[in-house]
């Protein structure tokens, strides 16, 4: 992958997030949800984003999709998609979206077809009939039972797994170059999860679509993503090839996270302190109040990304000192 | 409270209500001609607004401004009595109906539904006429038609709260249902009841004015606002001030209570500002 620093990408990235910051004004003060986030995603690449709840994963997705909440400010940074800055002018149709909760992402009072065709009507060429045919063929591709009649059913007539297949089909409907998925399988049971993941991976690979995948499940991550970015408190802590990061994390945070929860990125229970509120981010390295190897300088300056041998980037100057035992305080 | 004051529209409501309360409390001292509650001066009847009579005089030559000031006390007293009585009936019924799912709660809620289906004004009119018409009857009729709203509110709150963890915990340590309902559920339902009561004040003042207008509420020579509008009808369009100012008084006071209730609702339900 490339650098956190906004130097020109080595090759034409499909999606390039550069020094992105998103702040939201709240009653409790300014919430700095994202700060200085950078990464590139090449065409056809797959990147997983992991982190605890509240680390800014969803906001990152919303920034890319152009659906930031009202009142969100972008004090710095760019999101380039095929070279266009999509923060200022969101693109539709060329980025597919698979939402987290298939149960709540479809409007209960409209037929499935009416909802899924609306996006195509505006962003895909062809007539409504072409669109219907295309969706039905996609329904078959995602192995949705009774694909032919699915368009005329209401959301409550589908099971959770079926709805998620429906939404995957919808995400692919406009032939996007990038599919963004927000923990698309957490609402489903384990067997269904596995099928859906295999399907998603297969379909995007086959069509050479890039995939940006938010999850807190390391198992899912290793099954789907070539690269992974670990987010902590709105910053990228570590970014690198999935296998290497999972096997040998370098950033103290990633290390503790994996040591505590080898399966999922959930809260660091048993580690002193809590994730800082977005309105009260500590100065310097945002992890330093909880970090076992923190030094006085960590509270003063934001750590620069360090590139290590396999091309990974670690946002900790002392990562070499992060010996395995620190994870097991 | 501080949240309420930060909301300009709700503060306006609070200011109107406080102003009306002051006027009601000191009415006999504030009114320029306090004796005009009962005395008539036929020589100066139907005078247009002037420096002497800012809102003009009515068909018996009484100062309309004075009668509006004197009528404030009645309007607020009726509303307090009606809302109080409705709460006395409605709140216990809501607690009882919401606590358990059994035939008692079914019966109570069906009765409530039936009372809600009765056209309020017609019932109030019927009662007002069949008993001797007057302020007391009007108050009874209004109470009889307003309590279901409190039952509905408290019922919903009780049902929501009875599933809460702390209620289970209290039952676990052996608190009796009565104790739980009165000491724990009721205080939690209080904000919703308060909001309902504030809006009920406005609503009651309005309905009482309609009863007064239709001649089954306050009787002459009471300085009732609704009654005044009714009396003014025969003197239109010449004496426009006679009908206009008492009506404006109703509008202002009801508006005050409604704005205040609206603001209170925001404070009580911060999840969705100004939701329902």
């Amino acid at each position: 992958m490339s650098d956190m620093l906004p130097d020109p990408p080595e090759r034409q990235a499909l999606l390039s997030v550069r020094d992105l910051a998103v702040h939201i004004r709240t009653d409790a003060g300014l919430a700095r949800i994202l700060d200085g986030v950078s990464f590139d995603l090449p065409p056809g690449g797959t990147l997983g984003v992991v982190g605890e709840s509240g680390c800014g994963k969803s906001t990152l997705l919303r920034a890319i999709l152009g659906i930031l909440p009202k009142g969100a400010m972008v004090p710095s940074g760019q999101v380039l998609f095929q070279g266009e800055d999509i923060l200022r002018k969101p693109v539709r149709g060329r980025i597919g979206f698979i939402p987290q909760d298939p149960f709540r992402s479809l409007n209960p009072v409209f037929r499935a077809g009416d909802q899924l065709l609306e996006g195509m009507r505006r962003h895909a060429p062809g007539t409504r009939d072409d669109h219907r045919k295309k969706l039905i063929s996609l329904f078959n591709a995602v192995q949705l039972p009774d694909a032919h009649n699915a368009l005329d059913k209401y959301p409550h007539e589908f099971s959770g797994g079926q709805r998620q297949r429906l939404l995957i089909a919808a995400a692919l409907a406009c032939d996007p170059d990038l599919v963004v998925a927000d923990e698309p399988t957490t609402a489903l049971d384990v067997t269904t999860q596995r099928e859906i993941l295999a399907l998603l991976r297969g379909l995007t690979a086959e069509r050479n679509m890039a995939l940006l995948f938010v999850t807190h499940d390391f198992g899912v991550l290793s099954a789907v993503c070539e690269d992974v970015a670990v987010l902590y408190a709105g910053r990228v802590a570590e970014l690198g090839p999935t296998g290497n990061v999972l096997a040998d994390p370098r950033h103290p945070y990633a290390r503790m996270l994996l040591a505590c929860h080898p399966d999922r990125a959930t809260d660091l229970i048993g580690i002193p302190g809590t994730v800082p509120a977005a309105t009260a981010q500590p100065p310097g390295c945002r992890f330093h109040p909880r970090c076992p190897i923190a030094r006085p300088s960590c509270a003063r300056s934001v750590p620069e990304a360090v590139r290590i041998f396999d091309g990974s980037r670690v946002a900790c100057p002392f990562h070499a000192d992060a010996l395995p035992e620190v994870a097991l305080v | 409270m501080r949240k309420l004051l930060r909301d300009p529209v709700a503060s306006l409501g609070l200011a109107i209500v406080l102003f009306a309360l002051v006027v009601a409390a000191f009415a006999p001292w504030l009114a320029p001609y306090p004796e005009d509650a009962f005395e008539s001066h036929l020589l100066q009847r139907l005078k247009p607004p002037s420096a002497e009579f800012p809102f003009g005089t009515d068909y018996l030559g009484r100062d309309i401004l004075s009668r509006i000031i004197l009528g404030t006390r009645n309007a607020i007293a009726v509303a307090v009595a009606v809302v109080g009585a409705s709460m006395l009936i409605g709140v216990p019924m809501g607690l009882l109906a919401g606590w358990r799912d059994n035939w008692v709660s079914d019966v109570l809620m069906r009765v409530t539904d039936v009372f809600l289906a009765v056209p309020q004004l017609i019932l109030a009119l019927a009662l007002g006429q069949l008993m001797s018409p007057g302020l007391g009857t009007a108050m009874l009729a209004l109470s009889l038609t307003y309590w279901p709203f409190f039952t509905r509110t408290v019922y919903a709150e009780t049902r929501r709260l009875r599933g809460a963890l702390f209620v289970d915990a209290l039952a676990g340590i052996g608190a009796t249902p009565t104790r739980i309902l009165l000491l724990h559920v009721l205080p939690n339902a209080a904000p919703a009841v308060l909001v309902r009561a504030t809006i009920g004040m406005g609503f009651t003042i309005l309905t009482a004015a309609i009863l007064g207008f239709l001649g089954v509420g306050a009787a002459p020579p009471s300085p009732d606002w609704g009654l005044a509008v009714a009396e003014a009808r025969q003197h239109l369009p010449e004496s426009w001030w006679f009908a206009t100012f008492p009506g404006l008084a109703i509008l202002l006071l009801v508006l005050g209570f409604n704005l205040l209730g609206d603001g209170l609702r925001d404070v009580a339900d911060p999840r969705l500002r100004r939701s329902r």
């Binding site: 009072v109 | 009765v118 239709l214 509008v229």
Partner: protein, 337 residues
């Protein structure tokens, strides 16, 4: 859908029976003696007793109640004990007048209230929102009878633009037709002059009557839209590239109005109550004026019938509301199964 409707009708029946009994109790237990009022102040005790026997008022209360319910169930509303005319006939003449007025008023409150609520929600906490808020709270605070008089003062007396009272100019005649709804009948008969005249008579009462409903509907629509806007599916639809206009109008509004539709039904009772004062002021020959006359004359037969008819209208409207809801939201019909 037919089964759904049937079920809803059956569910409404116990409440109606309760209403029949309640109105009976309320009008008869109260200390007023219709026989004495009917006989007049100068009547002898014997005359009063005779009247009492004739109308069955000497029977035990429970038997009167049973008789009353049986008569109502067989469609016999009895004769007015005051005018002697069949109550059903009088109501048959007056019901269309009230229905026409209330439906037009309700129509106005919906077509004005829903867009107002929508624009308020889209400008959440902004200036438009605050203005709509003041308007809607004010709409609920204004006394209908006073507004009616003010409108008469301006439009009828001062500027002489609109007629002061009644449903139609009697010099023009009454529109021929079956429904008794003058707007409909005159259109069907092709009498445009009558239509315009009926409309001119209708404007002020309808505007007065629509205001409280308009205010409530604007508020409920606003909160419904705000609630819906927070749903995941709105976010999803935005990401999927819905046009903002379509999203706000069709996509969100359809969910939001389910609450509003319920309110339209629940507020219908208040609407009919409101009609009493407004009908009195505009001399509208509807149920409201009839009810006031019945009350003033202690005509309990007529009063019971009016309350019953109003209750039935209320029940029918609420069944219609449920059907409308089932049409808007497929899950409602599902739940009833």
């Amino acid at each position: 859908m037919a089964r759904f409707i049937l079920r809803r009708v059956l569910l409404a029946l116990p409440a109606l029976l309760g209403l029949v009994l309640l109105t009976f109790v309320l009008t008869r237990v109260i200390p007023a003696d219709p026989a004495a009022m009917l006989a007049g102040d100068a009547a002898t005790p014997a005359q009063v007793a005779e009247i009492r026997t004739r109308y069955g008022l000497d029977q035990p209360m429970w038997r009167q109640a049973v008789t009353h319910v049986r008569q109502v169930l067989t469609g016999d509303l009895g004769s007015s004990i005051f005018t002697g005319r069949p109550v059903a006939e009088e109501i048959g003449f007056r019901l269309p007048a009230t229905l026409e007025l209330t439906f037009v008023a309700r129509f106005l409150s919906v077509v004005l209230g829903v867009p107002l609520g929508l624009v308020a929600a889209l400008d959440h906490n902004g200036p438009v929102d605050q203005i709509v808020r003041l308007l809607s709270v004010g709409g609920l605070a204004i006394a209908g009878f006073w507004l009616a008089i003010m409108l008469q003062l301006l439009f009828c007396m001062e500027w002489e633009l609109l007629p002061l009272r009644g449903r139609i100019d009697v010099a023009l005649g009454v529109p021929p037709g079956f429904s008794g709804l003058y707007l409909l009948d005159s259109l069907l008969a092709g009498r445009l002059d009558l239509f315009v005249d009926a409309l001119r008579h209708l404007v002020l009462p309808a505007v007065t009557l629509c205001l409280p409903g308009l205010a409530s509907i604007a508020r409920f629509t606003r909160s419904g839209v705000l609630e819906t806007l927070q749903k995941d599916f709105v976010l999803y639809a935005r990401a999927a590239g819905y046009s903002p206009f379509r999203l706000a109008t069709i996509y969100v509004l359809r969910n939001a109005v389910t609450v509003t539709v319920t309110q339209v039904g629940l507020l219908f009772g208040a609407l009919i109550s409101g009609a009493v004062a407004v009908e009195a002021i505009f001399d509208w020959p509807g149920l409201g004026t009839y009810a006031v006359q019945a009350i003033l004359a202690a005509d309990y037969k007529a009063l019971l019938a009016v309350t019953l008819v109003v209750g039935v209208v209320y029940a029918v409207v609420n069944v219609l509301v449920d059907v409308a809801q089932a049409l808007v939201d497929p899950r409602v019909a599902e739940q009833m199964k």
